[in-house]
Symmetry: C2
Subunit: 319 residues, 2 copies
């Protein structure tokens, strides 16, 4: 079969022949239809992600750990839990029986492959307990996931949405899809800290953070109070690290500020996750939530993997 093959950590996957997977006991072969390529896939392939060892611990390896495909009987499913070295970026892959779920009828598999990002954006509710009327700050709103977070915040009934990015043109697009206030983070530290304070109104209730690094470091420092208080909660959900993998976090940023920090997986169990997914499907069917995808054939993986012109659109590989 043809596959996107990675020969070393940090390499570029190449379109090559690769032995067909053979199903062992309790396994099933998946005929892959659509695979969304996300930052996390690139980080795993680069060897910089904490799950890198699990998914690309030896080479050659096929990247991407989930996707949309067909079972041998033709049923379309979302699959995961792939068996090394068979990642999703191939004509076929192999997973344990049951490591898949039927996908919603009548939705393009390419779009279904992108829905996970919207489910992650739902962590503003599942992890941070967002309630309608609250103010949401989307750190990194010009990316695919960040734009979905702005849309999801609007659909969940946010009172006010503040969104950050580094490109004024893209920030205007983010305003067009629902942000009330935008902040360009490509300014001096002092100006950025002031911008966060100027835009905070009665306070940020929820921060969904796709950036980490410098902007989030400055944000958390800006929220330190100047005296003791019972701080109003600001619930920060860590999702991505487009800006950097780390921040310097002062104890004083937490002690009485009301800032709480946790990951997107907080509060998730299979039922909560399913409910979030069904909500996304409902919004997709009603047309309230839209997804921007850039479909490319598997044969283009080498160039597609390196594209930087997809602003706001998710790369979806169609084997």
């Amino acid at each position: 079969m043809k596959a996107a093959v990675l020969h070393e950590a940090g390499g570029i996957p190449r379109y090559e022949d690769f032995p067909d997977p053979v199903a062992g006991d309790g396994e099933v072969i998946i005929d892959v239809k659509a695979v969304a390529v996300e930052n996390v896939d690139r980080a795993i392939a680069a060897g910089t992600h904490y799950a890198s060892e699990k998914y690309t611990g030896r080479f050659p390896a096929i990247p991407a750990f989930d996707g949309i495909g067909a079972l041998p009987d033709g049923t379309l499913v979302g699959f995961g839990n792939i068996r090394l070295p068979y990642g999703a970026l191939a004509e076929k892959t192999v997973v344990p029986q049951g490591s898949y779920m039927p996908i919603p009828d009548g939705i393009d598999p390419a779009v279904v492959s992108v829905m996970a990002s919207a489910v992650t954006a739902m962590s503003m509710k599942t992890a941070a307990g967002f309630v309608p009327g609250e103010t949401v700050l989307v750190q990194g709103a010009t990316g695919v996931a960040g734009r979905l977070a702005v849309k999801v915040a609007r659909l969940l009934g946010a009172g006010r949405i503040v969104a950050t990015g580094r490109d004024d043109d893209q920030l205007r697009e983010v305003q067009a899809i629902g942000a009330d206030t935008v902040i360009n983070t490509a300014v001096s530290d002092e100006a950025l800290a002031q911008a966060y304070l100027d835009a905070k109104g009665d306070g940020y209730d929820v921060v969904v953070d796709y950036l980490w690094g410098r902007p989030s470091e400055i944000l958390l420092r800006a929220l330190v109070p100047r005296s003791f208080a019972f701080g109003k909660p600001t619930r920060v959900v860590q999702i991505g690290e487009s800006a950097d993998t780390e921040i310097a976090l002062a104890g004083s940023s937490l002690r009485t500020s009301g800032v709480e920090i946790y990951g997107a997986a907080k509060g998730l169990d299979p039922q909560t996750m399913d409910e979030a997914y069904q909500q996304i499907v409902t919004w997709k069917r009603s047309g309230e939530l839209t997804f921007d995808v850039e479909k490319v054939p598997l044969s283009d993986i080498e160039t597609a993997w390196q594209r930087t012109d997809l602003k706001g659109r998710r790369l979806v590989v169609m084997p």
Copy 2:
């Protein structure tokens, strides 16, 4: 009157004459009886704390923002909300009417002045929602506040208590007062990470953190999972910064680890705070909770302020 007078940020308070405070409209003069000197007082006096500007924004200033004293009618009270430059470390201070609460009968004012540290240790419950049977990690257990946290964890019904420090002799004392397992943090980064993992059992449910800095950085890195998962919650309460004011915090330390981080003030309102205080008073009266204090006269403030031999005992100044 006599007072401990600070002439510059980062200086040592000196025992000097200072004009008596005069009560303005709606103010009352307090005859000071006992003042616990804590790390936070030193940080404010050093100008390194976020509340420094509020409490010692101009000089000369009298340090310490709360204490135990007598109202003009002789009633003993705990007071706060002092009016600059009149801090608590003086024979007299001045506060607004009502910025005080009666103290419990029959408890030494020096001990009452220390109870706030035990109330802060209650943040394992008020902030982190500790329930009996859970495992508590006390980061920095050999200090006054850390020892109180070990005792409070035991009294609250912790299933297991892990405690850290840098001195084996003091860690033995911490075991004697209730820790099940101790970790000496004065080892290599790798050895410390391994020690945290070895001691975690089914996982740390609550971490009360008086250290921050290197030990907490290594702890949080050690808790990063090696694959995706619905992480079991580890609720980290930031209280002190004896080791350092900052940590480098990786996004991956949060994303799916189950780690949640917040400050000791989370969940506090006046009622919750009063309930925590009453619990401490009850334990003190029954003898279940003991406090180790080192009383010194105000005239000794200059040497007392610089003492480093108080391991486990709280410095209490008696004007």
